[in-house]
Amino acid sequence: MCPQLVAAYSFMNGKEAFPQRHFPVTPVSSNPALRLSGISKRFGPLRANDAISFELKRGEVIALLGENGAGKTTLMNILFGHYVADEGTVEAFGKLLAPGDPRAALDAGIGMVHQHFTLADNMTVQENIALGTQSLWRMRLDRTAARRRIEQLSADFGLAVDPAATVSTLSVGERQRVEILKALYREARILILDEPTAVLTPAETDALFRTLKLLVAKGLSIIFISHKLHEVMAVSDRVLVLRSGQLVGERATASTDRKELAALMVGQEVKQAEVSPVKPGAPLLALERVSTTPYNGAGLDDVSLTLTAGEITGLAGVAGNGQAVLAALIAGTRRPTSGRISIAGQNVRDWSPRAALAHGVARIPEDRHAIGSIGDMSVTENVIAERYRSPRFSRMGFLNWKASRQFAEKLIADYEVKCPSPDARIRLLSGGNMQKLILGRALDPDPEIILASQPTRGLDVGAVAYVHRMLLEARTRGAAILLISEDLEEVLTLSDRIIVMSKGRLSTPSARGERSIRELGELMAGHSGEHGDHAA
C-alpha cells in the first residue's frame, strides 16, 4: 500500500482521537480478550515458539510482526487449537482454553482467517459458513435462517458476497470475505488474520482495512499477522515483534516507526545487500508474445520478456496473477499455447524441463517441498536429480554413486548445509538447508540463465542473506536472472529493473528507482487510478 493511503487510513482509523497508549497498562477490572502465558513449541530441534506471553485487550488491534519463519503462524495455530503447545496456557476472556481443540477456540469466540483459505470449493458460500455451526445430528440443515444472517452481516461490515455462489467461482478477495463472514457468523469476539494481504491488491487491502475498522468499532479484538511494516503501522494499536520464536519487542504503534520495527524484526541494522552497477550484456532468454492456460492463478496473456546477461530482472505482483505459470514456463514444466521461446537468439521448439536444463536454465522453484525436492530420497539422490544422466553421474544406464556422493559432500561443504549425512532423507532438513542444496544444485554448473521463484520464502534472516549473496554473485558472473517474489522489498533491493505482473500481463520494465512504490502498487492492482477516491 502506498504511503498516501497509509496516511489516509490512519486518519480514518481515528488514531488522532486516541493519540498514545502507554505500556504496560495497569490491569483493569475486566479480563483481557486473550492472555497467552509462556507458550513454547518445539518441532524436533527447532524452537518455533519460545516462552511467548502477551495480552490482547478488548477492542484492540495487535499486529504480530515477524519475518517468515519467526513463529507467527505456529503461535496462531496453537491459539486456534491446531497444535498443542509444549508449555504454556491460553486464556480467552479470563477462561482457560482447552489445548488442541479448535472447537474450544471457536466456542470461546476466537475466529481465524487462515493464510491459506479453509474453504471447500465444491460447496456454496452459505454451506461453508454453516458448516459446523449446527448440531451435526440435525436431520435437516437450516438454510433460510443462515442465509438471512449472512446477508445481514455482509451488509453491516461491507463484505459483499453472494451466499448461493459456489466457492470455486469466487475471486481471492471474495474468498477472504467468506472467511471473515465465517468467523462473524459464529459471533467471534477475537479475530485473527494470518497474512491477510498477501493475496490482495492494494484496493482490496484497503477495503479489508475498512472492514477491520468497523469490526473494532463493534468491540472486536483483532490480531493482525504480517511481515509488511507499512500495513502494521496502518492498522494496529500495538505491535509485537517475533524473531526466531521469541517475543523480542512490544511497541505502541503511535510511538514507533518503521525503522525501529525493521531493526527489531531482523535483529540487526537492516544491511542492504551491496549492489554494484553492472553493464548488461547480450539477451539470453526471450519470450515473444507468449500465452498459456491458467495455472495456480491467471495464465499468461501475450507476454514478452527478455532477460539479459549480468542483470537481475525483478518481477513484482500480487500472488495469483500469473507468476506461477511464468515460473513454470521458464522452468520447462509448462508449454506456451502460443508465442515463441528463444535462448541466446535461437528459437526453441521442444520445450520441457530437460530442454530448459540442456539450454542452461537453472531453476529455483517456488515450492521446495512439493517440486524442488523428493522428500523421501536422500540428499545425494536429490542433488544429482537435474544431471543424473550426464556422463559425470552415470554411464551406460548405470549410476555412479561414488561421484554422486562426492558431489553431495562438496555442496554440503561449499554451501554450509547442516545435514547429518549425504544419505539422509532430504525431508529431514530444515527449509533453509534444503534451499541451499537446491541453490547449489542449480548454480553448480555456472548457469547462464537463472529462474529464482520466491527463493527466500519461509527462510530465516541468515539464509535469506545467503540466497541474495549467491544471486548477486551469479549476476556479477554474467548470468541473466529472473527474480519472482511477492516480497516487494526483496524485488526492490536486488533488481536492476522491475516488471510488474498483473492479470497475466507484464508492465513495461522500469530501471532501479525509476518508479515510486505508489506507481508500482497501482500497476500491481492492474490499472492506475482505481483507488484514487480513497486517497484523501
Partner: protein
Amino acid sequence: MDALEILFTASFWVAAIRIASPLIFATMGELICERAGVLNLGIEGIMTAGAFAGWFTVYSGGDLWAGVLVAALVGALFGLLHATLTVPLGLSQHVVGIGITLLATSLTYFTYRLVLPEVTSPPKIEPFQPLPIPGLSRIPVVGEALFTQTPLTYLAFVSVAAVAWILYRTPVGLAVRAAGENPSAVEAQGISVTGIRMGAVAVGSALMGVGGAFLTISAFNSFFFQMINGRGWICIALVVFGSWRPGKALVGAILFAAFDAYQVRLQQISGGIVPYQVFLMMPYALSILALILVARRATYPKALMIPYQKGER
C-alpha cells in the same frame, strides 16, 4: 425370442433391478467413503464378509432382518479397521484396502470352514420373498419391475435417497463433503476430520456389508466361495461413473445390471455360437469402458486418497 424383445419384458427388468440391488448398496457405501476422502478398496472383502455374516445369522436361526443388521455390523467393523489405518495413520489407501479385502475374505472362508467343517454343498436358508406393493405393482413393466421385489431391494432404493439427503441436506453431510474436498475447512470449523472420515468409512462399509448380504439372503439362499466375484470392484467403477453423486450412481448401477441381465439372456438365445465366456466378460469390459469415458471430465473429490494431519494446510 428376439434379442430386442427381451428389453420390453417385465421379467427382464425384474431381474435387472434384482441384480442392481447389491450393487446399489455397495456403491452408496463406496460413495460415502470417497466423498469423505477415503478410497475403500476393502469393498470386495467386506461384501464377502457381509454375505457370509448375513447368511450365517439366518442359518443359525436368526431373523432375516437380524441377518441384515449383523452384515452391516461386520461391514462397519472392517470399515473401522480400514479407517484406523488410513485416516489417523495415513497409510496408503491402496495397500490397506487390498489388505482389508484379503483379510475379510480369508477370515470369512476360515470361519465358514470352522463352523461347517464337513459340508460339501452349501446349506440353504429361507431368503426374503418378493413383496409386491399393492397397486403400484400392477403398472405394466415399470411397476412390475420396481414393485414386485424383495423388501431388501426397496431398502436399497431407500438407501440412495437417504445418502442423497444426508450428503446434501444435513449438517453432517456438509462435513463429509467438505472432508473430501478440503479437510482443513472442516477442522477450521471445529469438527474433527478424523472423526468424520472414520465415521463415513464405517457407515459406508456397513452398506457394503448389506450389499453382500443381499446376495445370500435375498437374491440366492446360500453362501458359496467367490460369490462376490468382482462386484465390489465394479461398484468402485460405478462411483466414478456416477461422478460421486448418489442419483447418477443409481442410474449407473441399474444400467449396468440391465446389461448384465441382458447378456445372460443373449447367451441363452445365441445358441452357443459365441463362447459363453465372452458374455461373462462383458460386464467387466463395460466397467472399464465406462471409466475411460468419464475419467477425463470427472471431478474427483479433491482430497480423495490424501491423508490429513491436524493443522496442515
